[in-house]
């Protein structure tokens, strides 16, 4: 069966995100006073051939922890859909 996995990689809490801060400041300049904080990240969309959803989740999580995210500075979330 074919599954689609979305892997969302973002910086861990406490790791400085100068890109997010710069975008946040620009939004403030545009008048978005109610946007308090911006965090940047990456989304990877994986197409996975697997027997079950949990197999697909496992494959995506392994891909994320081995390559897509750097565990020193980043965290990730995996979401699998059919």
């Amino acid at each position: 069966m074919k599954f689609q996995a979305k892997v969302n990689v973002s910086l861990k809490e406490g790791v400085l995100d100068p890109q997010g801060q710069t975008i946040g400041n620009a939004l403030l300049d545009l008048g978005f006073e109610n946007i308090l904080k911006v965090k940047t990240g990456k989304i990877f969309t994986l197409e996975i051939e697997a027997e079950t959803e949990s197999d697909a989740t496992r494959a995506a999580s392994e891909a994320a922890s081995r390559l897509l995210a750097n565990p020193v500075i980043e965290q990730f979330k995996v979401e699998v859909v059919l």
Partner: protein, 229 residues
């Protein structure tokens, strides 16, 4: 002594590194292709600067899985000497041979300028020919050189004197202005626990002749080669 310079697709300091080591008497230099799994029985492996695999995903993250890296990791784990410069440093971190990570420069710009390094530990295989506290001038050229490690990792490295080069000003003082990328504690170069792996962002191989503006990089390379031969 035989030095192997690894070439990844996108390496661009490989020839500079070749030249810098070649200038030392008694040193033989070989290129090692990233797709090969043969270290050609070299005594030292150098991972040069550049943009291996286009720096896609994160700098060094794809190069880390090149066939040659399997051998380089085994080599380092068995005590072999490995030097990673700039992009090579990023590859070493991604491989787990050194702790921490290199993030985008704090000002989000690619920084290409001369920096001053202070020798923080002259008691390593790489610095034994240098003086403690000696100042060295050489260039940096990178977009992702902002060294980061969590507090416990960093304080452990500091207590073991494994931060061997730090960015300083002309007076030898660590300041925010002297730090080109926002690296924590002004870290410019670190060594592994066993002291056989060196990673540094500045380019010693680009400061080896007076015509290049400085010969201080050559001091590091000669210091290391002399200690090994």
């Amino acid at each position: 002594m035989k030095v192997g310079i690894v070439i990844f697709p996108g390496s661009n300091c490989d020839y500079d590194a070749y030249q810098a080591f070649k200038m030392v008497d008694g040193v033989e230099v070989e290129y090692l292709w990233h797709g090969s799994d043969d270290l050609k029985s070299v005594d030292v492996v150098v991972l040069p600067g550049g943009f291996a695999h286009g720096d896609y995903l994160r700098a060094g993250s794809i190069a880390r899985f090149s066939p040659i890296m399997k051998r380089v990791i085994e080599f380092a784990e068995s005590g072999g000497f490995v030097i990673g410069i700039c992009n090579g440093f990023q590859v070493l971190l991604e491989s787990g041979l050194l702790p921490g990570a290199l993030m985008k420069n704090i000002n989000l710009r690619f920084v290409c300028r001369e920096v001053i390094l202070r020798v923080e530990n002259a008691n390593t295989a790489f610095t034994s020919g240098l003086k403690q506290g000696q100042l060295l001038r050489m260039p940096v050229a990178h977009g992702e050189g902002n060294y980061y490690a969590d507090i416990s990792t960093l304080s452990r490295m500091e207590s073991e004197s494994r931060v061997i080069f730090r960015y300083v000003d002309r007076e030898g003082v660590v300041t925010a202005e002297a730090n080109p990328n926002g690296s924590i504690n002004g870290v410019a170069g670190i060594v592994s626990e066993k002291g056989n792996v060196l990673g540094m962002m500045p380019h010693p191989e680009r400061a080896i002749e007076h015509i290049l503006g400085s010969i201080d990089g050559g001091h590091i390379i000669r210091s290391f080669c002399m200690a090994k031969t």
